[in-house]
Symmetry: C2
Subunit: 307 residues, 2 copies
Amino acid sequence: MLPRFDNPALRPLADAALLPGRLAFTTDSFVVKPLCFPGGDIGKLAICGTVNDLAVSGARPQWISCGLIIEEGFHLDQLEQIIESMAQTARSVGAQIVTGDTKMVERGNADGLYINTAGVGQMHNGFEPTDPRPGDAILVSGPIGDHEAAIFQARQQIAERLDVASDCAALWPLVEAMMAHAGDIRVMRDPTRGGLATVLCEIASRCGYSMELDEAAVPVRSEVRGLCELVGFDPLYMACEGRLLAAVAPDAAESILDIMRHHPLGGGAAIVGRVLDERKGKTYLKTAIGGGRILRMLAAGQLPRIC
Amino acid sequence: MLPRFDNPALRPLADAALLPGRLAFTTDSFVVKPLCFPGGDIGKLAICGTVNDLAVSGARPQWISCGLIIEEGFHLDQLEQIIESMAQTARSVGAQIVTGDTKMVERGNADGLYINTAGVGQMHNGFEPTDPRPGDAILVSGPIGDHEAAIFQARQQIAERLDVASDCAALWPLVEAMMAHAGDIRVMRDPTRGGLATVLCEIASRCGYSMELDEAAVPVRSEVRGLCELVGFDPLYMACEGRLLAAVAPDAAESILDIMRHHPLGGGAAIVGRVLDERKGKTYLKTAIGGGRILRMLAAGQLPRIC
């Protein structure tokens, strides 16, 4: 697709395209299965996904579009509940759903409901995403992997429930608080598919500097760790839907961490790594037992249809 | 949905939401079946649909998002062809596809490919959509119903082919030419699902003035008329994907018609009706044989999945 669609706004392949007038524009489709899961549903997820793509681009989410593809026979009360989730989630960040479209397909041509959202937002003045620099700190806003773990347990109907809810949340209020240090934040990303490790690898390979991730510092709930051990997943690759990763100037790292920890959306924030003075674009994991290895991007999803 | 999402930009339920800074924003999902049809494919349609929603709002289509939901096993060469259609169609109107997303679903969970597009455009200076007034002329940019007829024949595999291609086209260049008379154009719409009759009924019921449609003046290809007689469809309700309807000031009607007829996208344009000085919001059809009847909005689509 990329060579065919090529243009300056698409080329950076960021979470959102940056348009003239400091507007950010992004889209995502949602095909999560099941439609309702501990901590959210497809409606909440569809708004969070687009809000977060804008938020980590430094843009206040303002206008959202909503395209529904509904399978014939889908229950109206479930649809209403999902629509209400969308409305509530948008309202919680001051965004408006301003345009939409509904298509019906015959039974057997969709899995209940698919949702697409697109969003437009205004970039925060004073924030300019830049490449991370050696010495920068890598922050994560809370425990990783809750979303993928929640989807996994909802889908597998594991006998012994792990009691993990998705972290699914709309992050703009957290980002807005962090914008007090707009000039010290180099880049933010939301670690969805592929998780923390994949996003960090992408940042490293784009900026050219290598990264070090400190496994012992990465917050992971014991339930998520337990599930990963049970089924052979790696928490570092587990998707989040309400966490962000930020590379920030070293001098400001503690202040930004403090802001995050005092915010309801960043209570579990931690400094998890740093940018190395090595131009290899690699990501190294300092393991909890003191060893080291190179992290690579996730090649195939651990689970399909997590969002 | 509307009470739950309610906000000033959504409330007018126009083809596109109007945002501050004279931006227009719209979305559509596309589930057309079959994916390729005479005159186009789902990729061309997905760009035309969003471009036209912006164009009839008086906005130059500039930035487009693209969300693909692809069924496992979908042929890569067909996908490439569809992507190329999207790229070409966007390029033809100077729009850029700046952000996108791809989701895969397992076999049996989609009908090959669904596409969502959203679009952002800048409103033409000097154009302000307003309510039509008594005496205004109603123009249509070409023969109606070609798209739905083409889908119908492609789907039914009628033995005797009618040789109708979809009118599927991106209308911004035509609208841009018409903008020489921006101050004389009250409102534009694209008669997609529900066709000319439904769109005219919507305009009438919103502005409160009644409309008269002159059946003899409505351009319909003989092949489309033949198909409609054969299967019991009414051409006035047949969907177009490359036509627009405009209500314009009476003094400017001939000049605007002239501009349209000299444009490749408006060669078959015609004046098909007028706004009456009656505040009942009804739409009357003056039939070809001199009678009259009231037109109503299409309650259920003549064909499902035409776009």
